[in-house]
């Protein structure tokens, strides 16, 4: 990764994180999925910063890359990224989790907004992504399918069914990114259901794997650009739930929560790029 791109991607990540905190604060007492949103910031920044092929003026282009967000609760980062690239306006973003808004707590398929998939029920995105990747191969489409799943989500059996399927069908136009933040609702993932080495498991399932620091955009970029031939790709992105906010990091309580003004101000003060925030 070139240094200039690395710096701009880091800048983008900072911007997405601040934006996510603003969105979270905007939900008031309803609260939002902060922990798993903040752990995916660098993943979205790297994808949308330079890798994903998209065109907001031609959203349905059949050769666009398909980003399938299976862990549908990471919308703070996802919507922020879609806002950055221009699929969602700033005004629209203010309707996040407002009654009747299209910006639900789990993203809902809307191709005109660059949203490929309706998330919310875990273990649903991967099988779908396998179908999309097979379709791409059959039609000789030059798109890549990126799927974002959580480590907790990998408790679901359907995830492993689709890993087998991706490998069996030699889907080298397919990359799964596991946001391995090591926490799920009830606590540490390894205490809830110990998955052992996700990398070893995925290697055994026939994937080309990369085990990296999921907050290091250069490592993410390198792993995402090194695509295998004849087999699907898996990136185990080691991340921190609640990343970037001292009092949220590694805390399961911040899976879904609300921010008080004091907490919001503190969280913002910890961000490298401090913007002027106007909150209604």
């Amino acid at each position: 990764m070139e240094k200039s791109l690395e710096l701009s991607t880091i800048g983008l990540a900072n911007k997405l994180r601040v934006n996510s905190l603003e969105m979270a604060y905007g939900t008031g007492n309803n609260g939002s999925h902060l922990g798993g949103g903040l752990s995916t910031i660098e993943i979205f920044a790297t994808l949308y910063g330079s890798l994903v092929k998209y065109n907001t003026q031609d959203a349905f282009n059949p050769d666009r890359d398909r980003v399938i967000v299976s862990k549908g609760h990471c919308v703070l980062a996802y919507y922020s990224a879609l806002n950055y690239v221009g699929f969602i306006s700033g005004e629209e973003l203010k309707t996040f989790e407002v009654n009747g808004s299209f910006l639900h707590g789990h993203a809902t398929r809307d191709l005109s907004r660059g949203i490929e998939f309706s998330g919310g029920s875990l273990g649903m995105g991967l099988p779908y992504a396998v179908g999309v990747a097979i379709a791409g191969k059959k039609r000789n489409r030059n798109y890549h399918v990126y799927v974002i799943v959580g480590d907790g989500e990998c408790n679901e059996g359907s995830v492993w069914e689709s890993f087998m399927s991706a490998s069996h069908n030699q889907l080298d136009n397919f990359t799964v990114i596991i946001d391995d933040n090591k926490l799920q609702y009830d606590g540490e993932s390894e205490k809830v259901l110990n998955l052992g080495s996700l990398q070893n498991k995925l290697e055994a399932f026939g994937f080309s794997t990369h085990n990296i620091d999921g907050h290091n955009v250069a490592q993410l970029y390198d792993a995402l650009t090194k695509k295998a031939q004849g087999k699907p790709n898996a990136i185990i992105a080691n991340t921190v739930k609640g990343k970037g906010v001292s009092f949220m990091e590694h805390k399961k309580e911040w899976h879904h929560s609300r921010l008080t003004q004091e907490q919001f101000d503190l969280a913002i003060s910890e961000q490298p790029v401090i913007k002027t925030i106007s909150h209604a």
Binding site: S121, P127, G131, V132, A135, R139, S158, E161, S162, S165
Partner: protein, 325 residues
């Protein structure tokens, strides 16, 4: 181009609903729709797809015994512009992957057609795990999914062709054995959502679906010998149900009857009962179907008999019910 000649109709009947669908109709679909894809969860041969998979390997995908994944892969393929049929036993396609059906077909409205074979009690000694008595009830409660239930092999072909031209997710419920008895001996007009009136004289209306259309037809013949005349309506589309035909029956019948190879709860009879309640029922509805229990198992005929679904039993139930009106 498939022709609905009487010779063809007799040939298809021998293949049963599943055989006619996957051994005959799919070739017409492949010809007409270059984007056709058929997926199975390791039931290719059993579904009668051997010839298809040999002739069209590029349009066939065996997902393995992973029904949940199959529905997801189907949705991904469908949303990328393929005409997708996914099939395995009805019990597994509707129940093992129920949430997948809800998520992709219902919620995301991915244009997938799921085809459940062996619905009802036909799986004989395989037992209750392989019977499907809950599927109509479950799928009906999911928004956006059309439910088709052909009466015989010919209608199974009609359903295959009509579902391909239909825009929206579909559940196709295949019932009965190989050598499906023929309800239709000649070509007829089939339209999704429009019930077919097979017999139109009498002040009793029988609504039947799937395999039970034939048994109800036989029952009407038995009743005619006793001078009891029944109308018979084939409800091949359970959702959206043909409200007009229910309203019409409600106006002109002293008794209405529903017959289905499905739990009496939540299926065709329940659907009709709901609508009759809303419109104001002018006559009682006798609901015949599978009892709400898991029994010791037996062959198909034994199972039907246990639930009072053989023609003579249907006739007897109707006769008995009329006496109390």
């Amino acid at each position: 181009m498939l022709e609905f000649t009487s010779v063809n109709l007799r040939t298809w009947a021998k293949l049963g609903q599943r055989g006619a669908f996957f051994g005959v109709a799919v070739f017409e679909l492949a010809q007409k729709y270059p984007n056709l894809m058929i997926l199975t969860a390791d039931l290719g041969y059993l579904s009668g797809l051997e010839r298809f998979m040999n002739q069209h390997p590029d349009k066939f995908l065996n997902i393995g015994i992973a029904e949940q994944n199959m529905i997801g892969v189907s949705a991904g393929l469908a949303d990328e512009g393929n005409l997708v049929y996914a099939t395995t036993y009805a019990t597994f396609i509707t129940m093992r992957s129920c949430e997948q059906v809800r998520h992709y077909l219902g919620y995301m409205q991915s244009n997938v057609r799921i085809v459940g074979s062996g619905a009802g009690l036909v799986m004989g000694f395989s037992g209750n795990t392989h019977y499907t008595i809950e599927d109509i009830s479950m799928i009906r409660a999911i928004p956006n999914i059309t439910i088709l239930s052909p009466a015989d092999a010919t209608e199974s072909v009609k359903v295959a062709l009509a579902s391909a031209a239909h825009n929206g997710p579909v559940y196709i419920r295949l019932t009965g054995e190989l050598s499906n008895p023929m309800v239709y001996k000649e070509d007829y007009a089939f339209e999704i959502g429009k019930a077919v009136t097979i017999k139109d004289t009498g002040d009793i209306t029988i609504f039947a679906t799937g395999s039970m259309v034939y048994n109800a037809l036989k029952a009407t013949e038995l009743l005619e010998q006793k001078n009891i005349h029944c109308r018979l309506v084939n409800i091949h589309t359970i959702k959206p149900i043909d409200l007009k035909c229910i309203a019409q029956a409600n106006q002109h019948s002293k008794l209405m009857v529903s017959v289905e190879e499905h739990n009496k709860m939540g299926g065709l009879g329940a659907t009709i009962a709901e609508e009759l309640t809303s419109m104001g029922a002018k006559a009682p509805l006798l609901r015949l179907g599978i009892d709400d229990t898991f029994r010791h198992v037996g062959d198909y005929k034994y199972n039907l008999e246990q639930n009072g679904l053989l023609p003579e039993q249907i006739a007897k139930s109707i006769e008995k019910r009329i006496l109390s009106i």
